[in-house]
């Protein structure tokens, strides 16, 4: 399923949070959404999912306006892992993942065999099958992120939106989560991921959209977006670049104040 966002405008309390933003995510594509704090990344994801009121522009799925989908059809089309990783009650992990089947189930029907199978597969995809019986509130940060990612995967939506999926994780788990997102995309799902880590963005993303003050500052292949000039103008940082096994990488190096290192 193709996601197209056109001229999206979001205003809240007289402030323009998103100003004519356009982007698209094709099936099988892993797209990174980057930008400094307050650039409007989370607002954009929330506007696509429907939890943020849109002032203007459009969000379309396979050419059809998202408002034409009823809430459950929209929920089956778009899976979302929000920035907030809250789990309120100590449900077993298997039940948390099963919540991803909510848009597929009638309200009174008990879980069916297919939902069980999908939830089990989603847990296995994030290497969390052994956690199945654990209480979700006692998981470590890495485990919690993977379990909640499995919950999002259990929706089996053709589009997956994830907000800062590697925040607070150690490097091992960061790489693990990025590999899961890449595998998910390669299996045909369109993935839009908000990231702060420029190195992971360069390494894993098929395309990158750089947001700045609610506008798109650059978009395209990672190497074309994560240029020293763009990073200086938008992030006010200088970077180190290199090549490892024919793959380019970029490292944030120093803050710039009026163009000079601090």
């Amino acid at each position: 399923m193709q996601l197209d966002v056109d001229s999206l405008v979001v205003r809240a309390q007289e402030r323009v949070l998103l100003d004519h933003v356009a982007l698209s995510v094709a099936p099988g594509e892993l797209v990174g959404l980057i930008g400094p704090n307050g650039a409007g990344k989370t607002t954009l994801l929330r506007a696509i999912v429907g939890s943020q009121r849109i002032t203007g522009g459009s969000v379309r799925l396979d050419g059809r306006a998202i408002d034409d989908f009823d809430t459950r059809a929209r929920a089956r089309a778009l899976a979302y892992l929000p920035q907030d990783r809250q789990i309120e009650w100590p449900l077993p992990v298997s039940e948390i993942v099963m919540l991803g089947r909510y848009p597929h189930r009638s309200r009174l029907a008990p879980p069916d065999a297919r939902s069980d199978e999908v939830a089990t597969r989603a847990l296995a995809a994030v290497d969390a099958a052994p956690l199945s019986a654990r209480r979700a509130t006692v998981l470590s940060g890495g485990e919690r992120t993977r379990v909640l990612l499995a919950r999002a995967l259990a929706v089996e939506a053709p589009l997956l939106l994830v907000d800062e999926p590697v925040a607070g994780l150690d490097p091992y788990h960061q790489l693990h989560v990025m590999e899961i997102l890449r595998d998910t995309a390669h299996s045909g799902t369109g993935v839009l991921a908000v990231l702060h880590d420029l190195t992971l963005t360069m390494r894993f993303m098929d395309r990158v959209v750089l947001l700045h003050d609610g506008r798109i500052a650059a978009h395209g292949a990672p190497a074309d977006v994560l240029t020293p000039a763009n990073l200086r103008d938008v992030y006010r940082i200088s970077t180190l670049e290199g090549i490892n096994k024919s793959t380019r990488y970029v490292l944030p190096w120093s803050r710039l104040d009026n163009g000079t290192p601090t």
Partner: protein, 333 residues
């Protein structure tokens, strides 16, 4: 917990409630049901026993069942929606607001002429309280909710006291004070019929929230993305809880802590699942109130101990325990 165990738990609670209902019909100051059976079989005192069981004990047992189920269900639903185990109708001021509505109905004399006004004003009171609390609970944490509840309880208590102190009839005032302590003594089947439509509406509205409360476990953002209509859910919980608590308070006065103790005890048995907690909390609430009412009758005191006093004595230690356990949440909010 798998569905078979959930089914077993439901069946066990249905059985317990049925047994306690039967015990409630059988126990009273005039003797036990066993004696009634013997007397009835022997053709003795047929009219007296019929009067005692149908006119005195049956309404009481039915009210304990209905009021307990309503309070248990309302507590579990509010806790699921507000994602806060302390959200109990009595603690957060909903019962006090319902009592104020009922006192206005009784005090003004409208309830005498139009009995249906009594539950309607009690429901209006609880509806106002839930509507004020929900936005506060959404923005603040547990502390905000409890403080708002204290404020609502204090205000309603003050207004009720004002009404009582302005009353020209001290006996009527005393009657209202006793009524507010919570009791289902001396009620008739007319009281049951009076509140039944309102509690049935409340049960129906809260039952419709079931699956959506589970989706809220991961917060409102995820719930919306899963297709939950939060505005509709809020409407269902607000009106459902108000109908349950308002109608229950209208006939039974303020009976606190049922909605706290019952969901708290049963939550681990349903694997902490907010949706499965609803039916078991309704049954558990009914069982608790039936049991408490039987205890009240068995305690031989000069004037009967009020039901609300018994539930408070059971509930307050639980409340303290929950407050201590969630002190980290208090610090965070």
């Amino acid at each position: 917990m798998n569905p078979i165990r959930f089914g077993t738990l439901l069946a066990a609670l249905v059985g317990l409630t049925a047994v306690l209902f039967a015990v409630s019909l059988a126990v009273g100051p005039t003797g036990t049901g066993l004696r009634a059976f013997v007397d009835l079989a022997a053709g003795r005192d047929r009219e007296m026993w019929s009067l005692i069981i149908w006119e005195l004990r049956l309404p009481r047992a039915l009210l304990a069942l209905i009021v307990g189920a309503s309070l248990g269900l309302a507590g579990a639903s509010l806790q699921g929606f507000l994602r806060n185990p302390l959200a109990e109708p009595g603690i957060i001021g909903i019962s006090s607001a319902a009592a104020l509505g009922a006192v206005i109905a009784i005090y003004s004399g409208i309830a005498m002429r139009f009995p249906v006004v009594l539950p309607l004003l009690a429901i209006a009171g609880s509806l106002t309280a839930v509507s004020v609390l929900q936005p506060l609970a959404a923005r603040g944490g547990a502390l905000t909710l409890i403080l708002a509840g204290v404020a609502i309880s204090s205000l309603c208590g003050a207004l009720t006291a004002l009404a009582l102190s302005l009353s020209s009839n001290p006996f009527a005032s005393l009657e209202i004070v006793y009524w507010m302590l919570g009791s289902i003594t001396d009620r008739s089947l007319a009281d049951v019929w009076l509140i039944l439509p309102f509690v049935a509406l409340g049960w129906g509205l809260l039952a419709a929230t079931s699956g959506q409360l589970a989706a809220l476990t991961l917060g409102p953002e995820t719930a919306i993305s899963l297709g939950v209509d939060l505005a509709r859910l809020q409407w269902l919980v607000t009106l459902g809880a108000a109908c349950c608590v308002g109608a229950a308070t209208a006939v039974a006065g303020v009976i606190g802590f049922v909605g706290l103790v019952v969901p708290h005890l049963l939550r681990p048995l349903v694997g902490f699942h907010p949706s499965r907690l609803l039916p078991v909390s309704a049954l558990g609430g009914a069982a608790l109130l039936l049991a408490a009412d039987v205890c009240v009758r068995l305690l031989s005191t000069e004037s009967e101990v009020r039901l609300g006093v018994v539930t408070a004595l059971i509930g307050v230690p639980f409340f303290f325990y929950l407050v201590v356990r969630s002190r980290s949440a208090y610090g965070a909010s």
